[in-house]
Structures are given as C-alpha cells and as structure tokens.
C-alpha cells in the first residue's frame, strides 16, 4: 500500500494550510515589532482570518471530499461551521482590542494563540479520524489554557488556568481512553471505518459501549455539560473578559462539530446507547445551570451557568435525532442543534461584548450592579443588551426563541413530551435572571456615570450583533435553510 502512495490532495485543506503559514509569518513579524506597532500584528491576524474565509468560500462546492488518507474531510457542514468560526473570532478580536490595550495585555502572543486555537477548531471541524479530532482538540485546549493565564499578574486568572489545565487534561485522557476502546473493538480509527464496522456488526458491543461512555464524557466536558461543568464558572470568571468571550463563543461550534462527527457520523449505530446518556446530561445541565445562575451576583459567572443550561438544550437536540429508521427526524433534530449553537454563539458574543463595552482602564464591569441604569447612560446599548437577554431567555421574536422552539419541536417529535415540559419549565425559571438584568438596566439608578469609552468599530459591530439577534428572530428561515442544506449534503 505504501509503495503506491499518492500525494494527498491539498486543495480541500487550503484554509488550514493558509492559516498555519500566516500564523508562522505573524510569529516572525511580531518578533521585530515594538509596542507602538502592535496594531500591525492585530491587522495581520484579521487579514489572515478574512483570507481563510475567502479561501473557504472559494473551495465550497457541497461535495464530501476526503483527503490525507481519509483523515480530513471537506463537506458543506464543515465549510459552513468554519465560516461562522472565522466570523466569531474576528468579532472576538475587535471587541477585545480596547480592553487589552488598556490593560497592556495586547501582546503578540495573544493574537498568535488565538490563531492557533482557530486552527485547532478548524482541524476539529473537518476531522474524519479520531486521531485528528484529538490533535485538533489539544491544539485548541493548549492555546486556551495559555490564553486564560494571559494576565500573569492576576492570581485569579492563573488559578483559573491551572484548574482548566488539570481538568482539561483529565477530559482529554477520558476521550483518548474511549477512542482506544473503539479502536480495540473495530480495528480502525477512521470515523467512516468505525461506522462501517458497526454496520456490519463485527465489533464487540460491550467494548464499544464501554468506550462510548468515555467518549460522551469527554464531549460533555468540552461542551461544559453537568456533571462535567465544574470548570466553566471558574474559568469564565477568572479569565480576562476577552478570553472568556473567546471560550464562550467559537469553541462551542467546534465542540458541536466534534459531537456530530463522533456520535452521528461514527457511532450512529449505537444511538440508543448514547441517546440516554445525552438525555441525562441535558436534563441535569438545564436544571443545574438555570438554578445556579439565579444565585450569582457576578455577570460573568451568571453567563457561565447560563452557558451550561444552553448546552443542555444543545444536547437535547442532539439526543432527539434517532427515532427508528426514519432519516427525516434526524435531519430536523440535527438542524435544530446546529441552529441552536449558531444562535447561542451570536448571543454569547453580544453579551460578553457588552461587558467589554462597559469596562475601561482599571475598571471591570463584571458585577450585575455595574449594569444599573444603563438606559440612562446609553439607551441604544441598553436596547442591545435587552435584545440579547430576551433572546437568551427565549422571549418570542428573538433568535433564541426560535432556537429553543425548534429544539423543543424536535424533542416532541422524538416522543419525549416529559423532557420538553421539563425544559420549558426550567427556561421559565431561567427567564428570571435574564429579566433581572433588564430590570437593573431600565429601572435602577446608575451607580457609575462615566461615559462609555469604546472605539467606533466596536460600537458598530456590537450594534450589528444586537440587530442580528433581533433580525434572525424575525426572519429565522434564512439561517434554518442554510443549516438544513449544510447537513443534508453532509449526512
């Protein structure tokens, strides 16, 4: 087999190759730049991401292409998620610039590690081999651990990084152990090969289910679902806000892709087993996330618990895809899952963006009280935050409502009425803490009267973010159609 080896087709992997080359170029360029020219690094980073987006858009042809000995897959699902990923990272970079400059954290390494994390996520999104999933995940996680400790003089950030590192290493170990079990049972690490071995029924079921438990645990950790959620509040709270913004947005897309590739593309035959595991995780996440968020006074912690409950909804959607042999339900469920994760990333970017907007040199706007009277200070951004909070709570005609609605429809289609009722009830409980923020913004007197000091590009982008949350809520079909077609061509 090795004698007649063909050079792999590099064309589908062009975005990854381009990003890696640009990251190395930036690494070299940044070494020669002084503090005053740091903007060049930032600009180059943005240019690389835009370039990646152009290349991905150019190479998007809706066909499933495997390359690198079936380790890399280029399909419409991957292309679509990658485009969203670049957008999320670009938004993160623009939101965080002022914050980092004000705290002298805008080092070249920040941009580099963000690029490497992006590369890791891209690898995860288009992995069709357990080995590449794992390597992409490690590339992402390693960059994130270092980024959390970006502010080395803050003991809270270093503690969060330590915690994230230790727990993340544990989760990677669990994932690897699960992968080795699957390898032992099927004799291959290729996702397509695993699916085929399962279909033929030659693999040892006991070993497979044993491995599946570890795989699901690893995925749940990366998504931050209960009971693997312990790191989420501490890391969200301890990390500098731009890093929290990064962790809370783009990696969710990659984690969704990882869950899809492993569970749906690879281990679909074991669906009845992972379905019940995901249901348990989802129900626990929705309950614990919403209840614990009520007790928080720190905005970042509150959003962390809200993220946990949102991931519960995502798992609900992933769980309800399998009802007998009908593929129609699967499409509805996975589309709703994808829609949910896209909507969540949009809302999460906006919510942490508002925290960054209110912060300034020497002042962190991370307590609920810091939002008091925002309406009097800036009616427009109070309205943006209102849209974001309503959307997160699932109030009708914002994007979050349709995300929740489509997930609940899929859950009911799958026949889990009880779970759907449970999810709605806890969403109602969750609405309390979102609406409390609205109350603080509109009905309380401001405790801090300083004018908002944000650059025009950030104001513009944040406004756009708020408008998008409202607009996609009014016209949900466009995004839904995109998700459906991406999945339809890839499944």
């Amino acid at each position: 087999m090795l004698k007649n080896f063909l050079t792999p087709d590099l064309y589908p992997a062009m975005p990854e190759i381009f990003l890696l080359v640009m990251a190395c170029v930036i690494l070299l360029v940044d070494a020669f730049l002084g503090k005053a020219q740091r903007w060049i690094t930032g600009a180059l980073t943005l240019i690389s991401l835009v370039g990646c987006a152009l290349i991905t858009y150019q190479t998007m042809d809706g066909q499933v292409v495997l390359t690198f000995s079936n380790m890399f897959v280029d399909d419409l699902l991957g292309d679509f998620l990658k485009l969203l990923l670049y957008l999320a990272v670009i938004v993160v970079l623009i939101y965080s610039r002022d914050y980092l400059v004000a705290r002298q954290l805008d080092k070249g390494e920040f941009y580099l590690l963000v690029l490497f994390a992006t590369l890791g996520m891209m690898v995860m999104i288009s992995a069709s081999h357990f080995l590449t999933i794992y390597l992409g995940l490690e590339l992402l996680s390693l960059s994130l651990y270092a980024l959390v400790a970006l502010d080395r003089d803050s003991p809270r950030a270093v503690e969060a990084a330590m915690k994230y590192f230790v727990l993340g290493a544990l989760a990677s170990g669990l994932l690897l152990y699960g992968m080795s079990m699957v390898y032992g049972a099927t004799g291959t690490l290729e996702i397509g090969g695993v699916a085929q071995a399962l279909h033929l029924g030659v693999a040892n079921k006991t070993v497979l289910v044993f491995g599946l438990v570890f795989l699901v645990a690893g995925i749940a950790f990366k998504l931050g679902a209960v009971p693997f959620h312990m790191w989420v509040p501490d890391v969200y709270h301890g990390a500098p806000t731009p890093i929290t913004l990064l962790i809370a947005s783009a990696p969710k897309l990659a984690a969704f892709a990882m869950a899809m590739r492993i569970l749906v593309f690879g281990l679909f035959e074991l669906a009845q087993h992972w379905q019940s595991m995901l249901m348990l995780l989802a129900v626990l996440s929705i309950a614990v996330g919403n209840l614990a968020a009520i007790a928080q006074t720190n905005l970042k912690r509150m959003l962390a618990y809200s993220a946990i409950s949102h991931m519960g909804f995502l798992l609900l959607a992933l769980m309800s895809g399998v009802v007998g042999p009908d593929r129609h339900f699967a499409l509805i469920a996975y589309t709703s899952a994808m829609y949910y994760v896209v909507a969540y990333v949009m809302m999460s970017l906006g919510a942490f963006g508002v925290i960054l907007l209110l912060s300034r040199a020497g002042y962190e706007a991370e307590h609920l009280d810091d939002l008091k009277g925002l309406n009097q200070r800036s009616p427009w951004f109070a309205a943006v935050m209102l849209a974001l909070m309503f959307s997160m709570a699932g109030v009708p005609f914002f994007v979050g409502f349709f995300a929740k609605f489509s997930v609940l429809l899929a859950v009911i289609d799958a026949g889990y009425i009880g779970v759907a009722v449970f999810a709605v009830l806890f969403s109602l409980i969750g609405a309390f803490y979102y609406l409390r923020i609205v109350k603080l913004m509109y009905f309380d007197a401001p405790s801090d009267a300083a004018p908002l000091a944000a650059s025009p590009d950030m104001r513009f982008l944040l406004s756009l973010n708020g408008v998008a949350v409202a607009a996609f809520g009014l016209f949900p079909d466009a995004l839904m159609t995109l998700c459906t077609s991406a999945l339809l061509r890839s499944l």
Partner: protein, 213 residues
C-alpha cells in the same frame, strides 16, 4: 547456546544489575548514572529484537535528554541523603507487593488470548529491512497530517511557555547601560548656592538641650 542468546543473557544481567544499583546506590548521581546503564542495556535488547528505531529513540530521548535533565536537577537540588535513607527497609513489604502485582499483571497479559506470545509471533525480516525507514515512510505518507499537527501543538507549547515565563516582573530592578553612559553631568549633580555659615535655629537648640538633660 546460540550467540544471540548469549548476548541476551549478558545484556539482561547488566540491566538487572543496573536496575538494582539504581535503588541501592547511596549517591543520587550514581543512581542516575546506573539508570543510564539500564537504559543502554534495554536499548541493546531492543536491537536484538530487530527494533533498531526503538533502541535509538530510547538512547536519544531517555539517555540523551531526560537523564541529562535529571542529572542537572539532582546536582542542583540539595538532597538530604540521610533523611531519604531513613527507614529504607521498612518500605520493603509495600515495594515487594507492588512488584508482585506488576509481575502478575504482566503474566495475565502475556498469557492471555490477545497479547500472548502465541497470538503475536515474531517475524524474521529480510536482511536489508529497516524499520526506521518503514516508520518514517508511514509517518511522512499516510500519517503526514497528524504528524504536522503534532508539530504545531509543540510550537504552541513553545509560544505559550515563553509567554508565561518571559515577562518583566514589576519588582525587578535592572540597569539600562545605554542610559547610564549617555547621562550628562547636569542630570546627576545639582549645585546649590548657600552661605558658608548659618545660624542654627533657636528651637532646634533648645530641643537638643532638653534631649541632653
């Protein structure tokens, strides 16, 4: 006895001797050097099994890098040998138990159905066969993508390690030689014009008198 078997027994004997001396040597530097000897003998055993790549890696990575680092640490740290050797023999039962457990596990694995000597028979390769070459060929063809990814992970490790450790501490005081050389006289010396004699203030005098009494 075949010559190969003879070499095996010689290497195995040296290895066991080295391993025993690692735990019984009084001087930690000696212990580390005996560990190097153990690794070398193990590498020889790999060579006998036609696994020359593993043998070379064992020497390069463990002897060349890990053990040198280890020796540095041993030499730099002030290890209190007397305290380490205190109640040395009281650990014997625990150590023996762990050793027996490892032997039992090994027997279970090697005697089992999947990994036993019968299930995985050795293959005699042709004379010119190089498993280094075969491994390299596999790494750079079929596994080139994960191989490159692993190198990127290492690069991130370097960048992250430098970012986290190379920083200007707020409490560090260091010289800026160029500024010291470029200094002008008027920046350091200030000439103050004042009278050669001056009357001492009255209040200060009385205070001094009170202090004297």
């Amino acid at each position: 006895m075949e010559f190969k078997t003879f070499v095996f027994y010689v290497l195995a004997a040296i290895m066991l001797f080295g391993a025993l001396r690692v735990i019984s040597a009084r001087n930690p530097v000696h212990a580390a050097l005996f560990l190097v000897l153990t690794f070398f003998s193990a590498a020889g055993l790999w060579l006998l099994l036609q696994a020359e790549f593993l043998a070379i890696v064992l020497i390069m990575v463990y002897v060349g890098a890990v053990m040198v680092l280890f020796l540095f640490v041993v030499m730099m740290l002030d290890i209190d040998i007397a305290r380490l050797r205190h109640r040395f023999w009281s650990y014997l039962p625990l150590g023996a138990m762990i050793g027996l457990l490892m032997v039992a596990e090994m027997a279970l694995v090697l005697g089992g159905k999947y990994f036993g000597a019968a299930a995985l028979p050795g293959q005699d390769m042709p004379a010119g066969y190089s498993n280094t070459k075969e491994l390299g060929r596999l790494l750079f063809t079929e596994y080139v993508y994960p191989f490159e990814l692993a190198s990127v992970v290492l690069l991130v490790g370097i960048v992250a390690a430098i970012m986290l450790t190379l920083r200007q501490r707020k409490d560090s005081k260091y010289q800026k030689v160029s500024e010291q050389l470029a200094v002008k006289r008027h920046e350091r010396v200030r000439l103050v014009k004042m009278a050669a004699e001056k009357d001492a203030p009255a209040t200060g005098e009385s205070a001094a008198e009170q202090g004297g009494q």
